[in-house]
């Protein structure tokens, strides 16, 4: 299970992330950031499809998104 946090002020709307997302859930939003770039988003209803693979953050030239992955607690002794 994973989720993506979009740092919208760093995004330049290049859409490279939309191509590498295996689940195809990253889409162009209809909002613009301060610099006038059209940013990307994951529709809230699709966020649960995110498996936290991080491909989008790998391909992003501007480190404009942060991917979280939930990890099982190590069963402590």
């Amino acid at each position: 299970m994973g989720r993506v946090e979009f740092l919208e002020n760093l995004c330049k709307g290049c859409l490279l992330c939309t191509e590498v997302c295996p689940k195809k859930i990253i889409v162009q939003a209809d909002r613009f950031n301060k610099q006038g770039y059209k940013v990307v988003e994951i529709k809230p209803e699709n966020m649960d499809k995110c498996m936290g693979c991080g491909f989008c953050s790998l391909i992003c030239p501007d480190s404009a998104l942060v991917v979280y992955k939930t990890v099982q607690e190590q069963a402590c002794a």
């Binding site: 760093l10 290049c14 859409l15 490279l16 991080g54 030239p61 501007d62 942060v66 991917v67 992955k69």
Partner: protein, 251 residues
């Protein structure tokens, strides 16, 4: 349930936004270099030799000690730094105009001497900063502001294949060409960049990585179209792969 960040951004990469155009893969290349420096624990002994081109502001993004070399001369400056301080990790970051045109003598002799430095060479087939002029790596038929009718073989010759040229030199210990247009290639690029630094760490010789990259603005394409061009036009002419690797086992 605890959450952890996947592929956290390297600390040595500044938080400030970069000036690169949307979809320009200089940003990606910066991140890969930053990741490598952190993974190999080299940050605190690294000295970057910046070059003249779009990446001239690398010192604002890659927070390591940096000296700005005159256009094309980064390999010579790197030679001076490394010879003066052999215990430091020295690398240049150059574009195709800087390295393959005005700086060709410097890169060839730096590699041939086997200088223990690493060169990150970003090939986007144009002079980006100055507005998209023809470069030594401009593809045949590719239109630029100084070959408006498209590069033609009879007048401008064919694009220079740097990775192969550098691999042919005795002093080179590692030479590869990579791309960052998809995850598979990007992961190979990460390994190649690490190897190019390892040959320096292990004192095996000169390390070189050519990174095929997009220049949407000067190619007059959208970032996604530019990224496709890497696959469809550039990789067929500029094949990816390792052309020389003296690392042996510890890759």
């Amino acid at each position: 349930m605890k959450e952890k960040i996947v592929f956290p951004k390297p600390k040595v990469l500044a938080d400030s936004p970069m000036h690169y155009c949307p979809g320009c893969q200089h940003g990606t290349a910066h991140k890969l270099v930053a990741q490598t420096l952190e993974e190999l624990n080299l940050v605190e002994k690294s000295i970057c030799i910046g070059s003249i081109g779009c990446s001239v502001f690398i010192y604002n993004y890659l927070l390591v000690d940096t000296v700005e070399a005159p256009h094309g001369r980064a390999p010579a400056v790197a030679t001076g730094v490394k010879r003066a301080k052999p215990d430091k990790i020295v690398f240049t970051y150059q574009g195709d105009g800087d390295l393959a045109s005005i700086g060709l003598a410097e890169i060839v002799h730096c590699a041939n001497r086997g200088e223990l430095v690493t060169v990150i060479f970003v090939n986007n087939t144009v002079y980006g900063m100055t507005g998209g002029q023809m470069a030594p790596t401009t593809m045949v038929g590719q239109k630029t502001t100084t070959c408006p009718g498209g590069r033609c073989r009879e007048r401008e010759g064919e694009p220079l294949k740097m990775a192969e040229m550098i691999a042919s030199l005795g002093g080179t210990a590692y030479a590869a060409r990579v791309a960052v247009n998809n995850i598979k290639n990007l992961k190979k690029a990460q390994k190649a960049i690490a190897n190019a630094f390892k040959v320096q760490v292990d004192k095996l010789g000169f390390g070189f990585v050519e990174i095929l990259a997009t220049c949407p603005t000067n190619w007059k394409m959208t970032p996604l179209q530019a990224n496709k061009r890497i696959e469809q036009e550039m990789i067929p002419y500029f094949p990816l792969g390792e052309f020389k690797n003296c690392l042996g086992e510890n890759q």
